[in-house]
């Protein structure tokens, strides 16, 4: 009885629940039966080779792509069954940090941060918008860059502003797409620290898509290894890499050499 009660509590605390997820593009089967849950306040890193479907997974979670089969439940709502209005309401609770940062080129940093806020919360006063922007820019350590254009920022600064732009709507779930790709080790460490700070400060649950073992080990509570369209293993770092699977071992060795 206690076990069942615990399972119910656990289920209530799950912010993302995916079962039997399939996705293909033409004849190319990318995801072949993905199952995983993300609990409130937890960070999970999805590891896998380039082209293994990691980014496809989070794009399905946020509703940018539709699954072929399977259930994707985010914050208690089945994503594929939501209409546009409901999906937009759900997206206000999800932050998505893009691999390329995806900052709006034609806007400066201040306008990039203000844009999602002013477009979604039109009743906010100018002062409230300013306060929110200064707070979030301060949290990512770039308060002094507000007047600069994205093209004037370094790769690490762009990532930080990209994360700040998603944080401004105070999301419950953060989806990071390759947060450390293309960054030097020092900047990567700063981004990893920022991911942990975001988890603590904003009480977010995160899915971190990466092929960087350092990032996965240091920023996530659990690791999911995506091989051939399926999760080979989900667990902590030691559990996942304590295996004889050649692909997993190869991945580990590759990262070690890097």
């Amino acid at each position: 009885m206690e076990k069942i009660k615990q399972q119910i509590i656990d289920k209530e605390e799950q912010v993302i629940s995916i079962t039997g997820l399939y996705k293909s593009f033409g004849d190319l089967n990318v995801l072949k039966g993905i199952d995983f849950n993300l609990s409130k306040g937890e960070n999970i890193a999805v590891l896998g080779k380039s082209g293994s479907g990691k980014s496809v997974l989070i794009k399905i979670i946020v509703g940018l792509l539709k699954p072929d089969k399977g259930d994707v439940v985010v914050l208690g709502k089945q994503v594929e069954k939501l209409n546009t209005k409901e999906l937009n309401e759900l997206r206000l609770h999800i932050g998505f940090s893009f691999q390329s940062s995806a900052l709006y080129d034609s806007m400066n940093v201040y306008q990039n941060l203000a844009f999602p806020l002013t477009m979604n919360l039109k009743t906010l006063s100018r002062k409230e918008v300013d306060d929110a922007i200064y707070e979030v820019a301060d949290n990512v350590g770039l308060k002094d860059k507000l007047k600069q254009m994205p093209s004037d920022l370094s790769g690490g600064q762009r990532k930080r502003i990209g994360i700040a732009r998603t944080l401004i709507l105070k999301p419950e779930i953060m989806l990071y797409d390759e947060p450390t790709s293309g960054l030097d080790p020092v900047t990567s460490t700063e981004i990893i620290d920022l991911i942990k700070e975001v988890q603590q400060q904003y009480n977010t649950s995160s899915v971190i898509i990466t092929h960087d073992l350092t990032c996965a080990k240091n920023s996530a509570n659990r690791i999911a290894m995506l091989v051939d369209g399926k999760f080979l293993k989900i667990g902590n770092f030691e559990e996942v890499f304590d295996t004889d699977n050649e692909q997993v071992k190869g991945f580990f060795n590759y990262n070690f050499i890097q």
Partner: protein
């Protein structure tokens, strides 16, 4: 995994792509009409785009209009002189510029300048995931990027075309004035003497259609850009070529329809 990738086509790849493209273009246009009348209207962005389309094209339109008026007058004068009919020059220029050249030249210049700009801008936003970033922020990118730009081109290009016609007539007047002294008022009066309300209305309707075409084609090509930076260049290029092609087809259809109306 990539080795197993082999797409099946109903007819052939070329034909499938062609019909899919037509279907997508119609769906895209239908979506514009369904979204254009719904809130929010993003008025500030529409005004911003009108500024981008209008004010930034003004210098080019002025120069081209002036040259068109001057060259057309210089080319027409010898033929009219042969018949001793140089006094008809203002009327001939007026008809040619207001009914045909002003709207067409403006549309072609805007297709090149504005259409390619929109295609490249949206294409670049697409391949750098900026459009996806808007979508995940609960902002409708179609409404914010496409609807605003298409409305801006639709209503700005008629204004530019009227301006172009007046500048072309002024260029023509300076040319006529250099040869035989005449006042500007009498030149403009002669130029407009044979122009009817239907001619002006047709010109305005024509430029509304051209403006819409330039906007929707530029946005469509940019919105569906792929293949990275190469795709951006392709989107900009195709936006110009397709918009110009459609403008010529629309010109023929509108002239034909206006002639039918005139006879009735």
């Amino acid at each position: 995994m990539i080795k197993n990738y082999k797409k099946k086509f109903i007819l052939s790849k070329g034909l499938d792509d062609y019909f899919t493209g037509i279907h997508n273009a119609f769906t895209f246009t239908a979506r514009f009409f369904s979204e254009a009348f719904k809130r929010p209207f993003h008025l500030r962005e529409i005004i911003n785009q009108c500024f981008e389309v209008g004010l930034k094209s003004l210098a080019l339109i002025s120069l081209t209009g002036f040259i068109v008026g001057t060259v057309f007058t210089k080319q027409s004068r010898p033929s009219l002189e042969d018949f001793g009919a140089t006094s008809w020059l203002p009327s001939l220029i007026g008809i040619a510029i207001i009914k045909a050249l002003g709207p067409l030249v403006t549309a072609l210049i805007c297709a090149g300048k504005v259409g390619s700009g929109i295609g490249a801008e949206l294409g670049s936003m697409k391949v750098t995931e900026q459009i996806d970033a808007m979508e995940v922020s609960s902002i409708n990118p179609f409404k914010y990027l496409v609807v605003t730009r298409v409305i801006a081109t639709t209503f700005t290009i008629p204004v530019l075309a009227l301006y172009c016609s007046f500048v072309a007539l002024y260029g023509s007047y300076l040319n006529v004035h250099a040869e035989e002294t005449s006042s500007m008022i009498s030149f403009y009066q002669s130029a407009f003497k044979t122009i009817t309300f239907l001619d002006i209305a047709t010109s305005v309707i024509k430029t509304l259609v051209y403006g819409f075409t330039i906007g929707i084609v530029g946005c469509y090509k940019g919105f569906y850009a792929s293949q990275g930076t190469r795709g951006v260049g392709k989107a900009a290029n195709q936006a110009v070529v397709l918009a110009m092609f459609l403008i010529f087809i629309e010109e023929v259809i509108i002239v034909q329809v206006s002639n039918w109306i005139r006879y009735f």
